[in-house]
């Protein structure tokens, strides 16, 4: 199908769950109620690193209104093995240890005991009566600190894996890997200009407005029923079953509406605890995190220490690039350094590359994905170095990027060779945009640009569609809808069936009611679950052709369908008319789609940003912001724009304000939404968007994921704009007023 032939795709219907969400009727996890509900409270470590010598829960258990108290000892102690946590494998002991610590606590906020009581206030009061004897240990809070000889060791059994081999060396470095392509020394020898810079970026949080929550009922038939806000109901099912040592079929997870995730609601924290408290009490148990818990004890994205060195010839060709990426995993291995390494030079065609990645455990919360995890840190480094080289060569920064832009056939240092990608198209769209040539209009102002790449993922998705007699269809899927994906999925089915988007009724269901569907993450939902809906709709069309053939006493192969009209010879019947005749032609029609697509297409994005830097205070104001991104094909352009605008603003917050401000003993000093300063409406201009469409050959409608790549360029684009406004090259995030003033003053000295 050609783009202009679409009748549903590319339009902007009202989202199917819209009325419920603007009237307050939509039910999110914390809204779930049940008769006899008990409330859980989780007790957390006040220390960043400590051995727990003794826990005495007797006073808490005796407190009026308390129904159960538990610790990590209540978990079945199944032998250690690797488990899939939704975005890769982790040892069971780590997954269990992060849910409730045993023996040692590894960060401030680390959970280790829980109480269930008749009210949340009673549970909290009782938790305060749990007596704990700690042996406080020294802590390591940053990657460079934790990598030093003699640093406090978090896990006595963690041995460094180097280049894929076990070294047997106990340290905080879980892994050191290296990607090599070409000859790095020869590459730098060819360069006329070489720039090498060091960068530090702070830990930041996804900042979703809805805290984590879970309600569980250990039913009298032995089944465990869970209602929660999650990016992946099947991940919650599988991890809960694993930690409780029961088969997955014993757990049913109902995903409630979810109030934001951005990667942070993939890990499981509360569900296994609520389930065990329910088992002990015979009642359903609900646990809701406080905002402080969300900051201190869920998975922010890694802080990092990065070195990037790039060399280029006078003609503007990059000859070599080298990166050293040390990312803070938090308390358990699994920093997002692997994707950081995949993305650090992903926008460029560079012949000679070395990338070293280090996954380093530190005494901070165990990190999780955050929108293109690992890539934003890396691009901040690369894109500011690229800007500096372009300046030294006297080239326009976009021309320099165009000259080196990755294209179809470009090989990345981590292995893959690109299929059709939109890097060049995105940079060309930036160049063409009136913003790029508009006057800045005042002193202390500067303009910066940067680009970013995210590879996106495929993974399994399932969908069924049943036809109603009134010509509408019900679509059942398993991807929790964080940003309008019910609609972008339904629209793909509607396009195939030739009916309006409004005639498809999409529902996200529990894990008993749909085939396995992986997380809403990796920008995969519109791509992969949309593809499952496409397949299910094709299945419906196939069956309906048979029904039409039966009506007309002809061969199904002679029936065609276009835009909802079935034809054979001079006969025709609409989708609606045929739907009304299902009973007489053989009964209900149900279509199914189950996919594990390999044709995922990466997405490039770019920003043009104008800033004004106050030379007296160091405050940076965003004056104008343009976001460009390759969507492949924008199914619902409004929600594509929304992803671009939301990702851009998260990137602006990361660039200018947000950080885990830790004191020396590992306490986050700004664990409230007042002090962890996320952008408000007043801090921002409108965010202009340009959707570029370079169709992904690996998807029936050309879709690429659009959820993530948009967060990558803002910190670098803003840093480059700050340079042009104030003359200082920033090498740390956040670039808040003290950091800017320090840079300005040190340049004056």
């Amino acid at each position: 199908m050609k783009t202009q032939e679409y009748s549903v795709i590319g339009t902007r219907p009202i989202r199917h769950d819209g009325a419920d969400k603007v009237t307050g009727r939509a039910l999110y996890g914390a809204d779930f109620q049940m008769a006899g509900l008990l409330h859980g409270y989780i007790l957390r470590s006040p220390h960043a690193h400590a051995r727990i010598r003794r826990i005495d829960t007797s006073k808490a258990a005796a407190f009026p209104g308390v129904r159960a108290v538990m610790t990590a000892d209540d978990f079945p102690q199944a032998p250690d093995r690797l488990v899939d946590l939704g975005e890769g494998d982790t040892p069971l002991s780590y997954a269990r240890g992060n849910v409730l610590a045993k023996g040692k606590v590894l960060y401030k906020g680390h959970a280790f005991a829980a109480v269930a009581a008749t009210s949340v206030h009673i549970a909290e009061e009782a938790a305060g009566l749990i007596e704990v004897d700690y042996e406080v240990l020294p802590c390591a809070l940053t990657a460079p600190e934790a990598m030093q000889e003699g640093a406090p060791i978090l896990h006595e059994d963690l041995k460094t894996k180097e280049f894929g081999e076990q070294t047997g060396r106990v340290s905080n470095v879980a892994e050191h890997f290296r990607h090599v392509m070409g000859d790095i020394e020869a590459g730098f020898a060819q360069a006329d200009v070489i720039v090498e810079r060091e960068f530090n970026t702070a830990t930041v949080h996804q900042g979703y407005i809805e805290p984590h929550n879970a309600t569980a009922l250990w039913n009298n038939d032995g089944r465990i029923l869970v209602w929660c806000s999650t990016q992946g109901a099947f991940v919650v099912r599988d991890v809960t079953a694993c930690l409780l040592d029961v088969p997955v079929s014993r757990v049913r997870v109902t995903p409630m509406e979810i109030g934001g995730g951005f990667g942070g609601k993939i890990p499981v924290y509360l569900e296994p605890v609520a389930a065990l408290l329910s088992k002990k009490t015979g009642k359903p148990v609900k646990i809701v995190m406080s905002r402080k818990d969300v900051f201190e004890a869920t998975g922010p994205t890694p802080g990092s220490y990065i070195k990037v060195k790039i060399g280029a010839r006078k003609d503007g060709r990059i000859t070599a690039a080298q990166a050293y990426l040390a990312y803070e995993a938090g308390a358990y291995p699994g920093a997002m350094v692997a994707p950081g390494a995949m993305c650090v030079f992903a926008a460029y065609d560079i012949p000679n590359v070395v990338i070293d990645g280090f996954d380093v455990v530190v005494n901070k919360p165990s990190t999780a994905a955050y929108r293109a995890p690992g890539a934003t840190n890396a691009a901040f480094a690369t894109e500011t170095v690229v800007d500096e080289i372009a300046e030294k060569l006297g080239m326009d920064p976009l021309d320099f990027r165009l000259k080196n832009a990755a294209k179809e056939g470009t090989r990345r240092a981590d292995g893959p060779k690109y299929r059709r990608i939109g890097c060049v198209e995105v940079i060309e769209a930036m160049k063409k945009h009136p913003h790029y040539s508009a006057p800045l209009g005042g002193p202390n102002r500067g303009r910066g640009v940067a680009v970013g790449f995210w590879f996106n993922v495929g993974l399994p998705s399932s969908c069924t569609i049943s036809v109603n007699a009134d010509g509408t269809v019900n679509l059942v899927e398993g991807s929790t809808d964080i940003g309008g994906t019910r609609t972008s999925i339904a629209m793909q089915a509607a396009e195939v069936l030739g009916i309006p988007a409004e005639d498809v009724r999409p529902t996200v269901v529990d894990t008993d009611s749909v085939g396995f569907t992986a997380v809403t993450g990796g920008s995969r939902t519109t791509f992969a679950t949309g593809w499952a809906a496409y397949e299910a709709a094709q299945d419906i069309v196939r069956q309906l052709k048979e029904r039409a053939a039966k009506l007309w006493e002809t061969d199904a192969a002679s029936v065609t369908m276009e835009r909802g009209i079935f034809r054979a010879g001079d006969k025709s019947i609409t989708f609606q008319e045929l739907a009304a005749k299902l009973d007489q032609t053989g009964g209900p029609v149900v279509g199914r789609g189950a996919v594990n697509p390999r044709g995922v297409g990466g997405s490039f994005s770019g920003n043009i940003v104008d800033v004004e830097v106050d030379p007296e205070t160091g405050k940076v104001t965003i004056l104008r912001f343009t976001a460009v991104q390759d969507a492949g094909k924008a199914i619902h352009p409004s929600y594509v724009e929304g992803q671009m605008q939301g990702g851009s603003v998260q990137g602006i917050g990361w660039a200018l304000n947000e950080e885990y401000w830790m004191n020396g003993s590992g306490t986050m000093m700004n664990s409230s939404l007042l002090d962890y300063r996320m952008p408000t409406a007043l801090d921002l201009p409108m965010i202009d968007t340009v959707i570029v469409e370079v169709p992904n050959p690996g998807h029936p409608f050309g879709v690429r994921g659009v959820g993530e790549a948009n967060i990558i360029p803002p910190p670098a684009a803003i840093a480059n704009a700050i340079y042009h406004a104030a003359g200082v090259r920033m090498n740390r995030l956040p670039m808040n007023p003290p950091a800017i003033m320090e840079a300005i003053w040190s340049q004056r000295d």
Partner: protein, 158 residues
Amino acid sequence: MHNKVRVRTTINSEPQEFLCEPRQSLLECLRDIFGLTGTKEGCNDGNCGACTVMMDDRVVTSCLVLGVEAEGCQITTIEGIARGSELHPLQRAFLQNAALQCGICTPGFIVAAKALLDREPNPSEEQIRLWLANNLCRCTGYDKIIRAVEQAAQEVRA
């Protein structure tokens, strides 16, 4: 155990009477006693605005108001914004402009924006941004929310 206090108030134009502990917030009372779960908890310290409701003619974060303080007040929550089965122009404008993604902040934004339009039917972009700076949204970058409020203001004026 704590003694409960009797509170008489009006919620979404209906006279109501309830018992609550002195330590319970209005947010808890609305959600747990009345099942009005459209009012959301995002931070419980007044910084995110997800629990925004009207208390007489004041915009308040209901997590910072005690249930007992509702005595004699007129409370309006997101559930009281639509006119019967017809959506309020703000609700329609939020849908038409795709001004929500996850939707958790939406009730707070709509209640706060309605209070703005009740006071100032023709707000500038700057006025809207200042007024809504008490409400955090992490999904949209605010662009489409501002446009939705502008569109609704136009409709309300017409």
